[in-house]
């Protein structure tokens, strides 16, 4: 177990290094950088007075160095103008756009991101499980087709259009709030009933929007997996034992068919984080998504770099977690040893 973890962590670290280089390369692909752009913008709008500040930051953050040098400084394996202070030293850098340390900018959005995505995961599981099970048990009946139809409407409607329509009509007919994650007056307040309720109301539409496509896909996969499982001999054994129909489906094959999803939890989270960027932007959710898009657009290099590295690490970590989870949940994997040449 320990050895397995250590080995996996080592490969993960290696992968992360490669990813970091790629991330750095990609965010530096578009010409220019935040500060030169800002200087240009200031110049364009005749704001000479503020240019001085930008010039100042450029030097401080080594943006005048060559790209490879910047990369190494960012990683923290090369001394910058102020010595070694990169990711490895726990220095996430400075967000020029927000004029605050990256850690501070991201910190607030992180937990909200987690809340939104956990809620979406919950939604996906809560809707996909019964729907998928019904679709499989009633395979190729109108119920199955109806489930497919509803799911595919969710899948085939662009998220942001769905978001806009749901927000507007949700507000008009159900009084749901538009945008944001809580009523403004709760901001910065401690969590209480009122705030929790407000957050809940605000979450409804985003979660549906982010979740539908995931849920639809999961319904299809669950259905397929379950169909496979339903014809397995052990289900017939249970039947021969006199186990009632519903129990039979739920206790045995459903649990089996669930394995892939359990394995997916780790994968789902990061993919939701990156997949929900556009939705978050459209719906004005204070999550990491809009911050990332904004940072990429304005080439706020430290900020986007950190978020991207974070998401990548999350994905890799998710894969690790899903391996472990799967092993914990499936006794066959937990105890058996597979043979390899």
């Amino acid at each position: 177990m320990i050895r397995f973890l250590i080995r996996r962590l080592f490969t993960m670290a290696g992968t992360l290094v490669v990813v970091s280089a790629l991330v750095f390369a990609i965010i530096n692909l578009p010409p220019g950088d935040f500060l030169s752009n800002q200087i240009a913008e200031l110049r364009a709008t005749g704001q000479e007075a503020s240019i001085a500040k930008a010039e100042f930051l450029r030097k401080t953050y080594a943006l005048d160095k060559s790209l490879p040098e910047q990369y190494l400084i960012w990683l923290g394996v090369w001394p910058g103008p102020e010595g070694f202070n990169g990711l490895l030293q726990g220095e996430y850098g400075w967000s020029f756009e927000f004029d605050r340390p990256v850690g501070e900018v991201v910190g607030e959005t992180l937990w909200l991101t987690v809340v939104v995505n956990l809620a979406a995961v919950l939604f996906i599981y809560l809707t996909a499980l019964p729907l998928g099970a019904i679709a499989a048990v009633k395979a190729n009946t109108w119920i199955d087709y109806l489930a497919a139809f509803i799911g595919y409407i969710g899948l085939a409607t662009p998220n942001f259009l769905l978001a806009l329509a749901l927000l507007f009509y949700g507000n008009r007919y159900l009084g749901l709030p538009i945008g944001g994650l809580m009523d403004p007056e709760y901001e910065g307040k401690a969590m209480g009933m009122g705030k929790a309720w407000s957050v809940f109301l605000h979450l409804i539409v985003p979660v549906i929007v982010i979740g539908t496509s995931g849920a639809a896909a999961m319904v299809r996969r669950l259905r397929a997996n379950l169909l496979d499982e339903l014809s397995k001999p052990y289900v017939i054994t249970a039947q021969a034992k006199g186990v009632p129909h519903a129990t039979r489906v739920i206790r045995y094959p459903l649990r089996m068919a669930l394995n892939p999803f359990v394995a997916d939890i780790g994968n789902l989270l990061p993919s939701l984080v990156s997949g929900s960027v556009l939705v978050s932007v459209v719906m004005s959710l204070p999550t990491i998504g809009p911050t990332l898009l904004g940072a990429l657009r304005s080439q706020d290099f430290y900020l986007s770099g950190f978020i991207l590295m974070f998401v990548s690490a999350l994905t890799l970590f998710g894969m690790l977690i899903s391996d472990i989870l799967l092993a914990l949940l499936d006794p066959r994997i937990r105890f058996s040893s597979r043979t390899r040449n």
Binding site: M1, R3, F4, R7, S231, K232, P233, Y234, I236, T237, A238, Q239, A240, K241, G242, V243, P244, H245, R251, Y252, R255, M256, D323, I324, L326, A327, L328, D330, P331, R332, I333, R334, F335, S336, S337, R338, T339, R340, N341
Partner: protein, 606 residues
Amino acid sequence: MSAPAVLSVKDLSVSFGAGRSETRVVHDVSFTLRQGQTLALVGESGSGKTITGKALLGILPKGARVTMGMAHLVAENSVDVSGPNEPGPECDLLHMTRKELRDVRGRRVSMIFQEPMSSLSPLHTLGAQVMEAVRLHTTHRGAEAQARCLHMFEEVGFPDPRRAFNAYPFELSGGLRQRGMIAMAMVCRPQIMIADEPTTALDVTTQAMVLDLINRLQAETGMAVLMITHDLGVVANMASSVVVLRKGEVVESGPARAVIGEPRHGYTKALVAAAPIIPEMVPVKGLHDPEITPIMRARNLSKTYITRGSGLSQKTMEIQALSDVDVTIARGETVALVGESGSGKSTVANLLLRAERPDDGAEIEFCGRDGLKQDIARLEGNALKAFRRRVQVVFQDPFASLSPRMPVQDILTEPLRIHDVGNAAEQRDRAVELMRRVGLSPDHLRRYPHAFSGGQRQRICIARALALKPELILCDEPTSALDVSVQAQVLDLLREVKEDYGLSYLFISHDLAVVAELSDRVAVMRRGRIVEEGPVESLFSNPMHPYTKALIAASPEPDMDRPLDLNAVAQGAGEPHTWPEPFGYVSGQAPGMVEVDHRHFVRRAA
């Protein structure tokens, strides 16, 4: 003499589909199950045995339905203290509501299946699965229920019931799993148990023990057993009456002694005739010394597999699949390797085929018709290809060995194309010839493997192996997936083509009876070692090693007068260190091979 009837089935018919596409798979089947007795349902694969059993429990697969008949189950005469207040009433199994059926299933009629691995849920412990039956049908809960399970486990012969209770199915060997299934079926003391080929997937030795267990339990509880099987040997050992099915219809039925002893219908006769038996006296075949004209000679074959656990247990483990095995096959000879599952038979074949590499120190020499000796470990490129042409293989499972997307013609010409033999027309002619040779109509060349029955497919596999006119064919359990009747035909075929083509065989099997018919020499394997080896006559007339004896004793024979000798089985089938002197392995060290008769070797202390 005749015990009271428990279940009488009358004119049971089952169909798949409806309307124009309706196919009847069970046709007017009638039989009576009697208390404390076993009725055997025999017949080749696909004859409708399983469907009949499932129909009785109302667990037919999708699309199947009972079109006619009744199954009259008599009322229970006593009731379990923990069960429902009233004994189950008299009823017709084929005409019940779902709810009533659920009450019957598992409590009054239970069923066990052929595949113990896949018939148990892999995610639940054995205990949980058995407990479920207890909870469903009795008032026992908690500790009480558990005690009942543990008691059952003990009864079915788990050495450590508590461990079994907490074990997951994959942690148990096949025999233990099947015991678990039996425990599950028996835990509610049913009136009837339907056993659908309960031992087909098991080793002969394990099979013997499981059959014995069923017999014992039946004697204790007086329950009636419907035993579904295609093995007349099993029938002879278990059943008091027999129903022979063919294509869904009863061709012969009656008391076991009558049906098996003096079969009257052509099909039953063929079945009985086909059942392999270990001959009392094997006729002496010409004795040759394999060392003079060997075609394949292997020395010191060892194979260690390094396994790495997946998931969390990343411990590496070494599995010694083979240790110091010597095999020599003479030209024109059939050498048989016997032994239970996992004893290393396939590994030997893989090494000889160079599908895998042996551990260092092994030598494998191939000596072809051209007289050239080749170290097969060194073969590369064209030489290797030439070697592949001369040595062919036939696998156990005829369904898995043929690519489902290739018509038979392509399958048969594929080796020719690989080796660039002849032009397209010649290849087609060769395919026609091969089809004829294995007894199939060349008209079927355009067909796909699905269309063929198991026996026919195995013939195609043999034809494919013959396509390149090889010198040596390795047959890895070529008949163990087939019905007995078909098995006999395939064995005949193998014998014939051997003569025609001057072949040599390495024949792998776990069934001594099969081996006895075909081979010249036999090597018995156990735990990666050959424990006894010798000419077939000598070995069968005078088996020395306890393990060999166990194998012979465990082979059920279609003869009502030769019941299984369970003592011999128990003695030989245990771990090597439990073998009596001088055969036992002392502190893991195996004794050497000793020649006890002419070319008859036994592993024992000198």
